[in-house]
């Protein structure tokens, strides 16, 4: 590989887009060419600098309302005068109804059903402006607040050091029980982590899935069920899930 080729491929390498053969080639080249290595370091630094410091222009709340209001309504809908809260309530009701029908008619697997509820819960949390009941990045604030509301004490860890800042928590309802939803943020992305006690003999490994553009992962550990959901990219999402799992193990 010559330097000209390497200078382009360095970008694919940093972005994790090269196949194994090309990755090995570029690693070899960087090991033997100090000039390209300098360029590689600079591009990597630039990339993480942009990710850390470039402005992420999240949509202002007024735009959210404006977009929702501008979508055509189906004729005869009672939802016309409803705000977001009403819409969320309708969605929640639908989810519950859907759950009932699903049980009666389709009998999808328990896991499948739960996965649907987790995604619906995530979407609802983003739509209804009800992401958090308690906004705090301090695990020692969030944990006692939860303890007063639930009959179990979920492990609450701030993962800011790992790049996933704890933003707060809220109560939610999944799989016919009250659960804790911990909210983490990474750049503009929200991660919902649902936690509840689950009697299981053994810890299970992480199972991943994706639906409707969201990544899902779940596992059981230390007698708790964990379900994570986000629109974060799979690599960072899986890294997050790994961090949570490790933290739970070390808390034991």
């Amino acid at each position: 590989m010559n330097c000209n080729e390497a200078l382009d491929l360095v970008h694919g390498y940093i972005d994790g887009e090269l196949d194994l053969v090309k990755s090995l080639e570029i690693e070899q080249h960087l090991g033997s060419c100090p000039a390209c290595k300098v360029q590689y370091d600079q591009v990597r630094e630039l990339s993480s600098g942009i990710r850390a410091h470039a402005l992420y222009h999240a949509a202002p709340p007024a735009l959210r309302a404006r977009v929702a209001a501008s979508l055509p309504r189906e004729p005869g809908s009672g939802a016309r005068a409803w705000g977001w809260g009403g819409m969320a309530a309708a969605l929640a009701l639908f989810t519950l109804l859907g759950l009932g029908f699903g049980l009666a008619l389709l009998q999808p697997g328990a896991e499948e059903r739960l996965a649907r509820e987790v995604v619906a819960g995530h979407v609802r949390s983003l739509m209804a402006d009800h992401l958090m009941d308690i906004a705090s990045s301090d695990q020692h604030t969030v944990k006692p607040w939860i303890a007063g509301k639930l009959d179990f004490s979920p492990p609450v860890k701030d993962l800011a050091a790992q790049g996933y800042a704890l933003a707060g928590g809220r109560l939610d309802y999944l799989g016919e029980r009250s659960v804790m939803a911990l909210v983490y943020r990474r750049r503009g992305h929200v991660i919902n982590l649902f936690v509840w006690p689950q009697a299981a003999d053994a810890d299970s490994s992480v199972r991943s899935d994706s639906r409707q553009g969201y990544n899902l992962a779940h596992f059981t550990r230390a007698g708790m069920a964990f379900w994570a959901v986000s629109d974060l990219n799979p690599e960072e999402f899986n890294a997050f899930v790994g961090q949570v799992r490790d933290q739970v193990a070390s808390a034991r």
Partner: protein, 192 residues
């Protein structure tokens, strides 16, 4: 009932990506009000074309429409920017100065600006000054975290072109007079 099911599906798959839609529109138009108009228009289009949407990549699909809407809007209102999509002779400082949010980030008190804030501002100005065609790949990759494959689909170019365009965008940033004026400052100061 089919209509309400359709709308519900739209609300679940497309609405949650409003932040991504706005972020892209804001970086491409470099103006708050224009970005909001574009996003609203893009959502109406998305809703209209929603029946044609298959699969589960709601975000990339929406961003394709947002980008397209941005280009139509720019073509109509600021045609010079579209014709200069890859014009590297873009007057960097000049065009970046149009962005009030970035220009105003210093709060009018230069002495008090911490080094990192100054640096952040310069970085954002340099990105805003990139020609449109390079700016969009950079935003889609670094801020929206799309894969090359997704970017290729959004912009409708081959994957190899995504990599070379991204390489060019980053090189332009490195060479930018703005960033060079502060060269020597580490880009990621918070890193331990």
């Amino acid at each position: 009932m089919a209509d309400s099911a359709r709308r519900r599906r739209f609300e679940q798959i497309v609405l949650p990506h409003l932040d991504a839609a706005h972020n892209l529109a804001r970086w491409l138009t470099r103006n708050d009000q224009d970005a909001q108009d574009v996003v609203q228009d893009a959502y109406l289009r998305a809703f209209r074309f929603f029946d044609g949407f298959r699969g589960n990549e709601g975000r990339a699909w929406l961003l394709t429409i947002v980008r397209h809407t941005c280009y139509s809007w720019l073509q109509k209102n600021r045609p010079a920017e579209v014709s200069a999509v890859f014009d590297e002779e873009d007057h960097a400082e000049e065009s970046a100065a149009f962005d009030p949010e970035i220009a105003g980030a210093g709060g009018g008190n230069p002495e008090a600006i911490a080094l990192q804030n100054a640096h952040k501002r310069i970085l954002n100005q340099a990105i805003a000054a990139l020609p449109l065609g390079f700016r969009e790949v950079l935003i889609l990759r670094e801020l929206e975290d799309l894969s090359y494959k997704e970017i290729a689909r959004v912009i409708d170019i081959p994957i190899g072109t995504v990599m070379s365009r991204l390489a060019r965008a980053r090189t332009l940033l490195q060479e930018s007079a703005l960033l060079r004026s502060i060269s020597g400052l580490p880009l990621v100061e918070a890193r331990k």
